[in-house]
Symmetry: C2
Subunit: 184 residues, 2 copies
DNA sequence: CATGCCATGTAAGCGGTTACATGATTGC
DNA sequence: GCAATCATGTAACCGCTTACATGGCATG
């Protein structure tokens, strides 16, 4: 069985939904997965091409009224099999997420206290903004989402984002506090 | 002022410490920054070359007894200035950290419950192992570190790792719980 | 004399972004 | 006629990993 990159599996996964074209895939990711995934057209179209070449999906050109034609992709049994195999497989190893702020803090020894404080406070503020957008999205889903089944998965991934962001905010608060106390 | 990538700034930062060679830089990152940064020789040596070309550092070949010669790099005033400017600058925007588990969960709608549960449990276990290594490192630092100043920064970045990991573990627990309840 | 650590480097290739090119349709 | 949205695609480039190549020195 051939191995593919995460982007390919993400696209295969999306092709199980109503989103069948490159443009629609981009929209779905930007709107629904944007807090833990992103993608560019420069990846999407070549990947779709490859998916068809490998017999994981088939293209059909759909003519819609009032809009340009779109190429719609449909998973083949082989494509579904490939996706399923990946879904069942546990994650190999936890990735190291690079953190620019931690890096700056680490070298902050050789920098002024105000400067380090400013960077941390700015980071905290950005995290708080992100948290707020998560809360807003959550409210929007909870209040008007018809599809209960979809809503659960949505809220679950959103919950991850909220928890992770909150933990980072708490860390900022605590670090700023002890950093202030620390005499230089 | 020219812009550099994060790797370049990371190396400039390390060159302010006692680590002055490519090999030593790799060691420091693997040992001390491994929970939020990583690097390969394939980046280090070409980047060091570029750093010298741009006048941010100078090389001197140091002969040590009992070991092969090593090229040691020393920051120039221009290099120090470049580093400082970066350190002062707040992070532009929070990166989207791609999460394979969330992706799998999101497409889990079309997968068996056992399969999704297994992936989540495996993820949780890996997170717990990571947490434990953080705790162990923390203990090691607290018990025998002579340099108080260094220890604070060390523990601070480690604290971030602990909080982030713990938040992810909690999310796993909660998700597994509600997922179990959820009838299909 | 083999293993392991110290040390430096390069080349191929992957994954991804950005910028660009093209063009249809809709609504102001 | 112009802007916005829908829609597909490519080329250049960046960042990074992996695999490979080379060789000194030390120890058992």
């Amino acid at each position: 069985m051939k191995k593919y990159n995460h982007t390919t599996y993400a696209i295969l996964g999306i092709l199980t939904t109503d989103c069948k074209s490159g443009y629609a895939i981009k929209q779905l990711i930007d709107q629904s997965l944007n807090h833990f995934w992103k993608i560019s057209y420069g990846q999407i179209y070549p990947t779709l091409k490859k998916i068809v070449e490998d017999g994981l999906a088939e293209v059909r050109t759909a003519a819609t009224e009032g809009k340009p034609d779109r190429n719609e992709y449909f998973l083949t049994p082989k494509g579904i099999e490939t996706l399923k195999r990946w879904l069942e497989q546990p994650v190999e190893q936890l990735p190291v997420e690079r953190n620019e702020v931690l890096l700056k803090l680490f070298f902050g020894r050789y920098q002024s206290k105000q400067s380090t404080t400013r960077v941390l406070e700015d980071y905290k503020q950005k995290l708080e903004e992100r948290y707020q957008t998560y809360v807003n999205v959550e409210q929007a889903i909870k209040s008007h989402d018809a599809n209960q089944e979809d809503a659960w998965y949505w809220l679950c991934t959103l919950d991850y984002g909220k928890r992770a962001t909150l933990a980072a905010i708490d860390w900022c608060t605590a670090s700023l506090e002890t950093f202030k106390r620390k005499e230089n």
